[in-house]
């Protein structure tokens, strides 16, 4: 059968989609990614400039308004046990959490690319050993490793970033290594080598340029994962410590007031979910967009 007939006849399920639904889905998926992207922009802007617009300072303790449910007393999201405005604290905490997320992504992507490129290009013994090493690290549940490492150091933004990066680079390394391994087999790498290009030139220019797509997808998803990991570590008490607020240790503090002031727990969690979901949507959308290049028909 020609490619046109094959394309028209698949998916083979008799309940194949109507043409309108297919286009609708593509648009909707696209919309999800757009939504995610806008949400991220909004979040970043809100955390950076938001606190200036709110009349309350995050450290302003007002015991008259303890445990005020939203939106009492002009506090849009309510107040906590010391009368501090929740919204302001959420935004300030957002700075910390988002910074850690981005920074961890940068570091882990750098490590992952380095390891992946080395393993993929040199192949043979080095490649196998490196990739087995990656597999071995993946045998440990990330949270366990994170907690142990966090217990060893004094937790601040920098150390947390490094620790989270130390447990997140494996996925990027795998993606990069497999991309490079396939690309290496393909003809144009051999052609470039035949033309006399030096090894390193070939490696970084040609291969990396083609592997950039999946790396970006993996990096985006790493941000999501990093924010989530910071959430877990801080919730369990080994992350950012008071009085600095991050979304996660706000949740930790809120646990004891769950019955009386549930909004103290609900809002930070919502923020985390929103941020992580947005990055996941964007990452998924990017992955689809990149795959679409290779779609036939």
């Amino acid at each position: 059968m020609s490619t046109t007939t094959t394309a028209m006849l698949s998916p083979g399920s008799p309940k194949a989609a109507r043409p309108r639904n297919r286009a609708l889905t593509r648009f909707r998926r696209h919309r999800l990614a757009v939504f995610g992207f806008s949400a991220i922009i909004v979040l970043v802007l809100a955390t950076i400039v938001g606190p200036w617009f709110i009349p309350f300072d995050q450290l302003h303790i007002d015991l008259r308004y303890r445990f005020a449910p939203p939106p009492a007393g002009g506090h849009l999201f309510g107040t906590d046990q010391l009368g501090r405005d929740l919204l302001v604290r959420l935004l300030m905490a957002g700075r910390i959490s988002l910074t850690i997320g981005f920074a961890a992504m940068l570091v882990s992507t750098a490590i992952g690319v380095l390891v992946g490129v080395t393993a993929g290009y040199y192949g043979k013994a080095i490649g196998i050993v490196l990739m087995r090493f990656v597999d071995a690290v993946l045998c440990f549940p990330s949270i366990f490793l994170l907690l142990v490492l966090a217990a060893f150091v004094h937790p601040n933004v920098l150390t947390l970033t490094l620790i989270i990066a130390a447990t997140s680079w494996m996925e990027v390394a795998r993606v990069v290594e497999s991309q490079i391994r396939t690309l290496r087999e393909r003809d144009f790498t051999k052609a470039a080598e035949m033309l006399g290009a030096s090894g390193r030139y070939v490696m970084f220019n040609e291969l990396l340029r083609n592997a950039v797509g999946p790396i970006i997808v993996a990096a985006t998803l790493t941000v999501a994962r990093a924010i989530l990991m910071e959430a877990y570590v801080s919730f369990l008490g080994y992350g950012i410590q008071a009085p600095t607020a991050s979304w996660e240790n706000m949740l930790n503090n809120a646990q004891q007031y769950l019955g009386s002031a549930p909004w103290l727990a609900i809002f930070p969690g919502l923020m985390i979910t929103l941020a992580v979901t947005s990055f996941n949507f964007v990452g998924d959308g990017l992955r689809d967009a990149l795959d679409a290049r290779f779609d036939l028909a």
């Binding site: 059968m1 046109t4 007939t5 028209m8 006849l9 083979g12 399920s13 008799p14 043409p19």
Partner: protein, 360 residues
């Protein structure tokens, strides 16, 4: 079971000089004005239009065409294996005469059609390497069809499977029942596919390029097997192919398709010896022939150009842009109708009479 339906008027009796032997029984498969239309994201594609033919028991009709001509879609449409509406619209009628009843397959509901499919009419496909389920045994895959249509138990079905494996030329049939597909070569897998198709004694077998993916020697074996089975069971075969050599070897009738329409049809001898449509002529000229080899022999001719875009067909004859005999004002105005050229030979060309004397 549906009551016998009204059939369209029978096709004129065959002319003995046609090359067709006198099989004057009622046709077992009668297709009239078959049309298959796809609704795609980019527009409407008329993959098959106005296809009509009649197939008698024991007869082989070869359906010839390039990729994209609609030949595979025709086969799938007859089996009702195309996606359902509204993605795919089916038009026309497909009358199958079996077990004393004639039914229009085009109008059957899916449930009834399932009882017919694999039972009274079967299909084999092009890629034997991927057409068998890798996790089921060969014997079970054949027996499955038998158990479903004949309602027998597994033991009986497996016995029948063994018999079929033997019939299609697989040695050590009993041992093979418990083999898995990956143990078998391409040719053997295609034999298994034939066994599955023959499991319930179909009256019609649709073969969609069954030998294209096989080695030449295996091709010959499979073709011989099909002819032998046909002689033994009297089933009719609709053989879809793009290989004219195969057509010459096994077909009684031939039907040439281009851009979804039949452009020439008739007994295999008249059509291949005296093709009337320029496309058919071009096809025949592009087949390498041993007797035309050597110094002074004319070079192989290819048909220039390519198949029309299914979303944007030409206003007149679909072949006109590539036809060396095309005449503006005649050929690019309207789609020519099918005209009789004597006996069962029909052709769709505005200038066939004018061109008839010239080619020979």
């Amino acid at each position: 079971m549906m009551a016998p339906a009204e059939l369209p008027a029978p096709i004129p009796a065959p002319d003995p000089a046609d090359g067709l032997s006198a099989r004057r029984q009622d046709p077992v498969l009668e297709v009239a004005n078959l049309a298959v239309t796809f609704a795609t994201d980019n527009g409407v594609v008329r993959a098959v239009q106005d296809v009509s033919f009649a197939l008698s028991p024991g007869e082989t009709l070869a359906l010839v065409g390039e990729s994209g001509s609609g030949k595979s879609v025709t086969g799938l449409a007859i089996m009702r294996l195309t996606p359902p509406a509204p993605k795919v619209q089916l038009g026309g009628s497909i009358f199958l005469r079996a077990n004393g009843a004639a039914r229009d397959l085009a109008s059957l509901d899916p449930q009834t059609m399932r009882m017919v499919r694999g039972n009274e009419i079967s299909m084999i496909f092009q890629e034997p390497m991927t057409s068998l389920n890798p996790v089921h045994r060969i014997g079970d895959q054949i027996a499955e069809a038998v158990m479903f249509h004949r309602r027998v138990n597994r033991r009986v079905a497996l016995a029948r499977a063994e018999e079929l494996l033997d019939r299609v030329g697989i040695s050590e049939a009993r041992h093979r029942l418990s083999s898995y597909p990956h143990h078998l070569s391409g040719g053997m897998r295609q034999r298994v596919m034939i066994a599955i198709a023959l499991a319930c004694d179909p009256r019609v077998l649709i073969a969609d390029e069954p030998t294209t993916a096989l080695d030449v020697t295996v091709q010959a074996q499979i073709l011989a097997l099909l002819k032998e089975l046909q002689a033994a069971t009297g089933m009719a075969i609709l053989f879809i192919t793009h290989n004219l050599g195969v057509v010459a070897e096994i077909a009684d009738q031939v039907m040439v398709m281009y851009a979804g329409r039949i452009v020439e049809q008739g007994g295999v001898v008249p059509v291949m010896k005296h093709p009337l449509m320029p496309y058919t002529q071009g096809l025949l000229r592009s087949v390498p022939r041993m007797d035309l080899v050597g110094p002074g022999a004319a070079p192989l001719e290819a048909i220039p150009g390519s198949v029309p875009d299914p979303l944007n067909p030409p206003p007149g004859c679909a072949f006109e842009p590539r036809c060396v005999h095309a005449e503006p004002g005649t050929c690019n105005i309207a789609v020519p109708p099918l005209e009789e050229a004597g006996g069962r030979h029909v052709v769709r060309c505005s200038r066939w009479r004018a061109l008839r004397g010239r080619e020979d």
